[in-house]
């Protein structure tokens, strides 16, 4: 079945599942839900390391076929065919793939960030749904162009921010929204690693192609590559996007010709006054990937695999009888540091019910295919992608200038309606 024709399928089937319209892994991956005619043919632009990883996940969704792949770097063709297990048609030019492969229903875009807009917009303009890897676009203008392309194509766009599909994240966000840790004032997030971020380059002429992450022409650096998920989670928890950012960073560890910073610090302020702080560095591994949500009543720590809730000690704050006035208070010279030591006990782990357990990347892929089949809006849609991507772009502008950037000075105000 070719989805260039609009397929209006009753959305009632989507009513199963959580209140966010997300199906459980069992439901979204059940072979019984898909008739043989519900084949989805997926094209891939950019089968690099992330591209191949997501291709393998898409091939775990019943009825999905990788119908074609496109890359400018020929060694990727054999690698991609190894993932698909067949002689998938290969192209060097994405426009040729989109023109020639009339069987495509959707496209996975996993190319360097600066190329996302061209690949995403061309795919949408060819009438194809798009799964676009994060960040949605490179510049603010790129992001607006993508949103306009989604609208005029009337096709579905999902951004590759898969923690929106991770069950422990969904549970944490729901419980935070229900007030379990009080009012959230700050979110601190980290992605710290210890290596130079370089890939092996067979020939020096391939340096900018393979190590595109290190060059400002193509890459949003650590903030884009390692901060998108964290920033998206902050936007998700706060229910809005930031209004300004202060940025900082530098090339302080690696003197190897790179242009993107090897350490970045950014502080975003939200309209409510809440703050999101992000740190990434590639010279120390201890902290790893962490998102720490600070609320007046407790804390949530989230990682790539799990999460835990911590609760602030209860403080009694009621008026007491005045008997102590006659008895007096006692004085002594002791000084205790106990009140300011970090809490080192266990938190309460987030338990995921057995039928909700799953790999977030697989759940994101299955969710996208479900939206393609049923013509439903993805949970991580173009608005989610836009809010993250422009926040990244402005964060980088701030960091490169070592300055503050106000979002209102740089963003179109009329792109989206207000949040309901």
């Amino acid at each position: 079945m070719n989805r260039r024709e609009l397929i209006r399928v009753a959305a009632a089937a989507a009513a199963a599942g959580t209140s966010r319209g997300l199906l459980s892994p069992r439901e979204s991956l059940a072979a019984t839900r898909q008739a043989p005619s519900d084949r989805v043919n997926l094209g891939v632009i950019g089968p690099g390391s992330r591209g191949k990883y997501m291709m393998q996940r898409f091939l775990r969704v019943p009825g999905v076929r990788i119908a074609a792949v496109c890359d400018v770097y020929e060694p990727r063709f054999a690698e991609a065919r190894e993932v698909t297990g067949e002689s998938t048609p290969v192209y060097r030019d994405y426009r040729e793939m989109l023109d020639r492969q009339a069987d495509l229903d959707a496209v996975l875009v996993a190319t360097p960030l600066s190329m996302h807009v061209d690949h995403v917009v061309a795919s949408l303009d060819h009438g194809l749904h798009v799964y676009g890897e994060k960040a949605m676009g490179f510049t603010v203008d790129d992001c607006s162009r993508i949103v306009h392309a989604v609208r005029r194509s009337d096709r579905r766009f999902q951004v590759g921010q898969q923690y929106r599909y991770a069950p422990w994240y969904r549970q944490a966000v729901d419980r935070i929204a229900a007030g379990e840790i009080g009012r959230v004032t700050h979110i601190y997030a980290y992605w710290h690693r210890n290596y130079n971020w370089r890939r092996p380059v067979p020939d020096p002429s391939l340096e900018r192609l393979i190590n595109w992450r290190l060059y400002r022409e193509f890459s949003g650096g650590l903030l884009a590559e390692l901060g998108s998920h964290h920033l998206d989670v902050a936007n998700w928890i706060f229910g809005e996007m930031p209004e300004r950012v202060i940025g900082n960073g530098g090339i302080d560890f690696y003197d190897d010709g790179r242009e993107t910073f090897d350490n970045v610090q950014a502080v975003y302020t939200y309209p409510s006054g809440a703050k999101f702080l992000f740190s990434s560095l590639i010279g120390n591994h201890k902290t790893g990937f962490q998102i720490v949500v600070y609320g007046t009543g407790g804390t949530v720590e989230l990682t790539l695999e799990d999460g835990a809730f911590y609760y602030e000690p209860a403080r009694n704050n009621s008026a007491i009888p005045e008997e102590m006035l006659a008895a007096g208070a006692n004085t002594s010279p002791t000084l205790s540091t106990a009140g300011d030591m970090p809490y080192r006990g266990d938190g309460r782990p987030i338990e995921v019910p057995a039928d909700e357990v799953g790999d977030p990347n697989l759940l994101a892929a299955a969710g996208f295919i479900e939206c393609v089949r049923e013509n439903r809006r993805p949970f991580a849609d173009e608005r989610v992608g836009w809010e993250t991507a422009v926040s990244i772009a402005l964060g980088n502008a701030a960091a490169y200038a070592g300055d503050r950037v106000d979002f209102a000075d740089h963003l179109p105000t009329d792109l989206f309606g207000s949040r309901g």
Binding site: A30, L59, V83, G85, P200, P202
Partner: protein, 323 residues
């Protein structure tokens, strides 16, 4: 190979330590290769680990008893290979041993072996024949609900083979990759040598001469008493490989070392032969061309190992002297 230096890096993965030796022009490039290699081990582990609820294997275990599960080509190919191994070894090798592993682990926590009564229900949900694979749509179905797959007996070997491929495609001509010192895969040989030297320690308490094997592009794996996690043994436990066909310990040998063209097969063979016993072992090995084995008799024997097609060591070392 002038201008190349030998580098080594080791990292914990898959419940053991993975170790890579490789020849590269300089340290920076070697470091990048190690990152890619260990990322590939992590990728394999994230797909195949029984200990991760988010792995593809765990998903198949949760769902394939209720209905067909679609999986990706790589996982499907590995499951099909494992099924072929089950058939070719008469069930001495079997990836459907998850239920038995659980029963053994529970018993070991009480410092005892499981009884036949405890093994019976686990045996009812064991058997490579119950794993139904549909090639047309890459589907996996368990004919018996409660069947549980565990790839511990070939997962490390498979990871070693994937790393060898990755390094070869990155231009590395000489490398040795090992997991837990029990399985090794060679890519080429060190410069001016016949192969990578592997010392095969003699069996416990014997006066047997130490053996040496030179690996060039092949693989070697040892199963038996000792830190040989990855066999049909409870996770984290040493020794006591059980026979999947009856769930009781395999007692014919104290140790088996297998040679094969790749680590997946070597890993599988060292387990399968250990279980098969001395009568069945020769015919079993015949079904795997290019393979060889050393079968060390059970505890208490002072005899040397039985050799099955084992290459002549003197020839190998004379090749070294000529090179």
């Amino acid at each position: 190979m002038s201008g190349l230096e030998l580098f080594r890096q080791a990292r914990d993965a898959m419940g053991t330590e993975f170790e890579i030796f490789l020849y590269a022009p300089e340290a920076g490039g070697a470091g990048e290769l190690f990152e890619q290699a260990f990322a590939e081990v992590e990728r394999v582990e994230s797909n195949l680990s029984s200990f991760r609820a988010t792995s593809e294997l765990s998903r198949i275990n949760r769902e394939a008893g209720r209905g067909e599960v679609t999986t990706d080509p790589e996982t499907f190919a590995l499951l099909r290979l494992a099924g072929d191994y089950g058939r070719a070894t008469g069930g001495a090798f079997d990836i459907t041993v998850g239920s038995l592993i659980a029963v053994w682990a529970a018993a070991r926590r009480q410092a005892r072996r499981p009884s036949r009564l405890e093994l019976a229900p686990a045996l009812a949900t064991t058997g490579w024949r119950h794993l139904q694979l549909g090639a047309a749509r890459r589907t996996v179905l368990f004919a018996v609900p409660g069947l549980t797959l565990d790839l511990g007996a070939i997962g490390k070997g498979y990871a070693l083979d994937r790393v060898a491929r990755l390094l070869a495609s990155a231009g590395v001509e000489s490398a040795l990759i090992g997991s837990g010192q029990s399985t090794y895969r060679a890519l080429g040989a060190p410069p001016r040598r016949a192969g990578w030297r592997i010392n095969l320690d003699p069996a416990d308490g014997s006066s047997l001469r130490p053996r040496v094997q030179w690996l060039r592009n092949g693989a070697l794996s040892t199963s038996g008493r000792g830190p040989a996690a990855g066999d049909h043994a409870a996770p984290g436990e040493a020794g006591h490989i059980f026979d999947p066909r009856h769930g009781l310990p395999a007692t014919a040998f104290s140790r088996v070392t297998a040679l094969a063209d790749d680590a997946t097969e070597a890993d599988m063979l060292s387990t399968a032969l250990f279980v098969a016993g001395s009568v069945a072992a020769p015919a079993l090995l015949e079904r795997f061309p290019g393979s060889a084995a050393l079968l060390y008799p059970g505890a208490g024997s002072s005899q040397g190992p039985q050799e099955l097609r084992w290459p002549d060591e003197d020839r190998a070392s004379s090749e070294l002297q000529r090179a």
